[in-house]
């Protein structure tokens, strides 16, 4: 029988946590904790897409941001795919030619492209969702299964911030 101080590393918990936020906890029997973590990550992820549009997840133009955003798992890659498939292709909205220096190749962007604060906050929200999901999936890998109700014992540093 396991307890809350069990710190065995379970890679499957981390993998499931990456597949979908909170799934690692849910699969291990910590359903409520998983749902709470899922809610937090999805508030940031969906909020970011809502504020900035799918343009705020861009694997090619914002590569460094995407490294963090990829922590959300397949949903981040799906958002990037939607950006390419609907916005960059011109399917969702007309493309606008951008002013370029003489002789430079012509550049066109979607008229739905996010600019300034909308794009900045959308990108930041999804980035934070990715970073927090990495914390969540690491927790899923070390937290004892079915320990939601356990109060005796705790992992190193747990509860120290209260």
């Amino acid at each position: 029988m396991s307890n809350a101080s069990d710190t065995t590393f379970r890679p499957l918990g981390a993998i499931l946590g990456w597949v979908f936020p909170g799934l690692g906890h849910i699969a291990a029997g910590n359903t409520k904790r998983g749902l709470y973590a899922m809610a937090g990550v999805l508030v940031l992820f969906i909020g970011g897409i809502l504020v900035g549009g799918v343009d705020c997840v861009d694997r090619t133009e914002d590569r460094l941001w995407f490294v963090g955003q990829a922590g959300c798992g397949p949903i981040a890659f799906a958002a990037d795919f939607a950006n390419t498939a609907f916005l960059k292709s011109g399917d969702a909205a007309p493309m606008i030619k951008m002013p370029t220096p003489p002789g430079a190749p012509e550049v066109a962007v979607s008229s739905f492209k996010g600019l300034a604060h909308a794009n900045e906050f959308g990108t930041l929200f999804v980035f934070l969702a990715g970073l927090l999901n990495i914390c969540v999936l690491l927790d899923a890998a070390v937290r004892a299964p079915a320990s939601d109700g356990v109060t005796a014992g705790r992992r190193l540093g747990e509860g120290a911030s209260r």
Binding site: L44, I49, D55
Partner: protein
């Protein structure tokens, strides 16, 4: 001080009718971007406290407390930077 034009952007108006959520950026964000610190603080606190609290009964209170701490810290930094840039720096000699 919020101007009437900015206030109009907070209330969904006719421009929202043409908005395609998730494809287009949200309308009016340029005017009320600073309010986004509230959902950001809430989301961060929700996810972080879900893995930090010992018992889940503590979660709602811990989320509220951490959200307020984040917002207070952001406001504090904003006030500090305002004082630095608008009050202190202009007091320095030009040369």
């Amino acid at each position: 001080m919020i101007t009437p034009a900015q206030l109009a952007c907070l209330v969904p108006g006719p421009s929202v009718l043409a908005w395609t959520p998730f494809l287009q950026p949200a309308p009016g964000v340029q005017h009320w971007w600073w309010l986004l610190v509230l959902p950001m603080a809430l989301g961060v606190a929700m996810a972080y406290k879900a893995i930090r609290v010992r018992t889940l009964a503590e979660w709602p209170g811990a989320v509220l407390k951490m959200s307020l701490q984040i917002v207070a810290a952001m406001v504090g930094i904003a006030v500090g930077l305002y004082l630095l840039v608008i009050v202190l720096l202009p007091m320095l000699p030009a040369e």
